[in-house]
């Protein structure tokens, strides 16, 4: 890895990098909880209960299993991108 390291992150020492990593893990953990709930929760484990609730012409459980979870997945990634870019700047580990 012959690339130069960011000056500030290094001078902040290990604490800055560790706080950045902790914030990152918290964010990822929260997003994966949502990821789990919409697909495994709503789409699989709770499908019978949710299928009693109509959403337009869909049954809600079926909707999450074949449409809804996919929309949420897309939203999760873009939310992650935005939050990580902010974290990168906040801890001064961003590129350029």
């Amino acid at each position: 890895m012959g690339n130069e390291h960011g000056g500030v992150a290094v001078t902040q020492g290990n604490n800055g990098a560790q706080a950045y990593w902790k914030a990152n893990l918290r964010l990822v953990g929260g997003l994966l909880a949502v990821w789990f709930v919409v697909s495994y929760g709503f789409g699989i484990l709770l499908v019978d209960v949710l299928n009693r609730i109509p959403l337009g012409g869909f049954k809600l459980g079926f909707f999450f299993a074949q449409q809804g979870s996919i929309y949420v997945f897309v939203a999760l990634i873009f939310y992650y991108v935005q939050r990580m870019n902010r974290l990168d700047r906040q801890f001064d580990v961003n590129e350029d």
């Binding site: 390291h5 484990l45 019978d48 299928n51 012409g57 074949q66 997945f73 990634i77 992650y80 991108v81």
Partner: protein, 592 residues
């Protein structure tokens, strides 16, 4: 213009386009060949990743699977998209920061072990070869049906096209052709879906049409479909059957497997930096989701069309069933291929299509004078291909579907072939056995490995081993149980060391392989399996295709325990892990 002329025109011009791109984007260095120079725009890479990922199976088979399984096909929809969340959050940014050319290279360096690298190469090659056979077969089938040439000729033409742009351009040529192929395949998939959704529900957006009412009635489309299929003894379309734990584990295995497939991961080495790798994963899923959210509408509407065609009147009334001699043109076309077959079991000249395995429905069927399901063959794969004909769409739409199927198969084949050739030239030759070769020699070796991989894939596509249809499960099982956990622990744990990683990968790999062999036999040869492949014999009711997640769990557990019992990784490895966790300094992907 007739349909056949349209097909030649559309398929011919897409092929000319791919060749044009190949000539324009020749690879000059190993960086070009492995990672397209490392400066692909993240949105463009997202599009290329979508084409790379969506194979003949996504384009042709998935909607058919949904049509016949209904809710029970959901693991494929959630699994093959949810994996991108794992990829974006857990792997892609860090592997991009690491900044090398191949997946085994990361595993080898992070676990400072040539053995780990070779195990990864083995998994990569087995997973990719099994996967590429199916693509080559898909090319042959699509050519056979639409261009009316021999299956072998179809595979040869496909090989020639891939050879041209993959050998010349490497990742660079593949990237730009994949972008073109994505445009072709998504247009081909959505246009017929829009027509059909509008015909059936009055709503041109298929995703919304699926949740709308039937044209001219106030019954929701899906409720109507549930009613139509249950009246003929089939299971409800929108509700689950089978063990919940199996659905759960299958979804999890497909997600982890997706995130661990090397030909997808290496696409994220082509973007300029870490932030772009994250963004690119998001765009990839957007482009994939366009097809994956359309597929449930295509599947449900195709099922409705099929049921309506065969059973136009009330169930039980004699005139309720279609007279065989009056069957529509598309029915006759597909009968010729053998993918659709009718047998007049009760000799009444009419077609009865119902679930004759349903004991509760048997008495009714007998009262109607039915003597078994007469649609003896309904191949799931014809659903997407026959859809435009069923809906009476013009010839150019059918031509588009042919070009789209070919684009899906070729783009995935090229991505897989690159993963294989880079593992051979970069990991095996340069990295392990002949480290002294120059860059020019390595580039040449990459091209030769690519050419050889194409020949092997083409040969296996023409002479598929009996197990070809089953092996995709193997590819996902291997990726899920060996590659994904190794990558994740390499990033998220400072403590997992060489011994832990190697033992973990081998434990995950062997347990998954053994479970598949136990129910499917050695090399999938019938008769060599140890247990019947049915639910009552499965461990906890988990089917072999769903075992990858268990294998991954075993991998994680073994790696953690073994690492605890042995020395921590050396300081420079821990520093490497700390370094890939922060984005700054990603710079260019480099082989040195």
């Amino acid at each position: 213009m007739d349909t056949q002329t349209w097909i030649y025109l559309v398929v011919g011009s897409t092929f000319a386009l791919y060749i044009g791109i190949a000539i324009w984007s020749r690879a000059a260095s190993t960086r070009d060949f492995y990672v397209a120079g490392g400066h692909v725009n993240p949105v463009a890479n997202g599009m290329a990743t979508a084409a790379d990922w969506m194979s003949a199976a996504s384009f042709i088979s998935m909607a058919g699977l949904i049509a016949f399984l209904g809710y029970n096909a959901s693991p494929y929809l959630m699994g093959w998209t949810g994996g991108y969340v794992l990829l974006a959050l857990l792997l892609a940014p860090y592997l991009r920061k690491f900044g090398k050319f191949t997946v085994p290279e990361f595993i080898g360096e992070r676990f400072y072990s040539r053995t780990a690298r070779l195990v990864a190469v083995f998994c990569l090659i087995v997973a990719s070869i099994t996967y590429v056979i199916g693509q080559m077969k898909g090319v042959g089938v699509a050519f056979g049906r639409f261009l009316e040439v021999e299956f072998e000729t179809g595979v040869l033409v496909g090989m020639a096209i891939v050879f041209f742009y993959a050998v010349l351009g490497g990742m660079k040529g593949i990237t730009y052709t994949q972008i073109a192929q994505y445009c072709v395949l998504i247009f081909a998939y959505t246009v017929p879906a829009i027509f059909i959704s509008f015909q059936m529900t009055g709503n041109p957006v298929p995703q919304l049409g699926l949740g709308s009412h039937m044209v001219g009635s106030d019954v929701a489309f899906l409720d109507k479909l549930d009613q139509v299929v249950t009246e003929l003894g089939f299971a409800r379309y929108t509700e689950p059957t089978g063990a919940r734990i199996n659905t759960f584990m299958l979804t999890l295995s497909l997600m982890i497997g997706t995130a661990g497939l090397p030909h997808v991961i290496i696409r994220f080495f082509t973007v300029p930096n870490v932030a772009d790798a994250r963004r690119s994963a998001g765009w990839a899923l957007v482009f994939i989701a366009i097809l994956y959210t359309t597929a449930p509408a295509v599947g449900a509407m195709a099922r409705m069309n099929l049921m309506d065609t065969i059973q136009p009147g009330p169930v039980g009334a004699v005139e309720g069933n279609l007279v065989y001699e009056d069957r529509p043109e598309w029915f006759r076309n597909w009968e010729k291929t053998g993918l659709l077959a009718f047998e007049d079991k009760n000799g009444d000249g009419r077609i009865q299509y119902y679930n004759d395995q349903n004991a509760a429905f048997a008495a009714k069927a007998q009262a109607y004078g039915w003597q078994g399901n007469e649609m003896v063959t309904v191949d799931r794969d014809i659903m997407v291909l026959a859809n435009p004909e069923i809906a009476n769409l013009p010839g150019w739409v059918i031509a588009l579907v042919a070009a789209g199927g070919l684009a899906a198969a070729l783009s995935t084949a090229a991505g897989l072939l690159l993963a294989i050739s880079s593992a051979i030239s970069h990991d095996l030759l340069k990295g392990t056995f002949m480290p002294q070769i120059s860059e020019r020699q390595e580039l040449m070796a990459g091209r030769i490995a690519m050419a050889a991989a194409i020949v092997v894939a083409g040969y296996l596509g023409m002479n598929p081993p009996g197990f070809a249809a089953q092996v995709v499960a193997l590819a996902f099982g291997l990726a899920a149980s060996s590659i994904f956990p190794a990558l994740m622990m390499g990033i998220f744990s400072l403590r997992v060391n060489r011994a832990g990683a190697v033992c973990g990968m081998l434990a995950g790999l062997t347990s998954t392989l053994l479970y598949i062999v136990a129910y499917k036999g050695w090399f999938f040869i019938p008769g060599t399996e140890w247990f019947p492949n049915t639910a009552e014999y499965w461990l906890l009711g988990i089917q072999p295709e769903a075992f990858g997640a268990v294998g991954a769990g075993i991998n994680f557990a073994v790696a953690m325990v073994v690492s605890r019992l042995t020395a921590a990784p050396p300081a420079h490895i821990q520093a490497l892990v700390e370094d890939i966790r922060v984005p700054r300094g990603a710079g260019a992907a480099t082989g040195h």
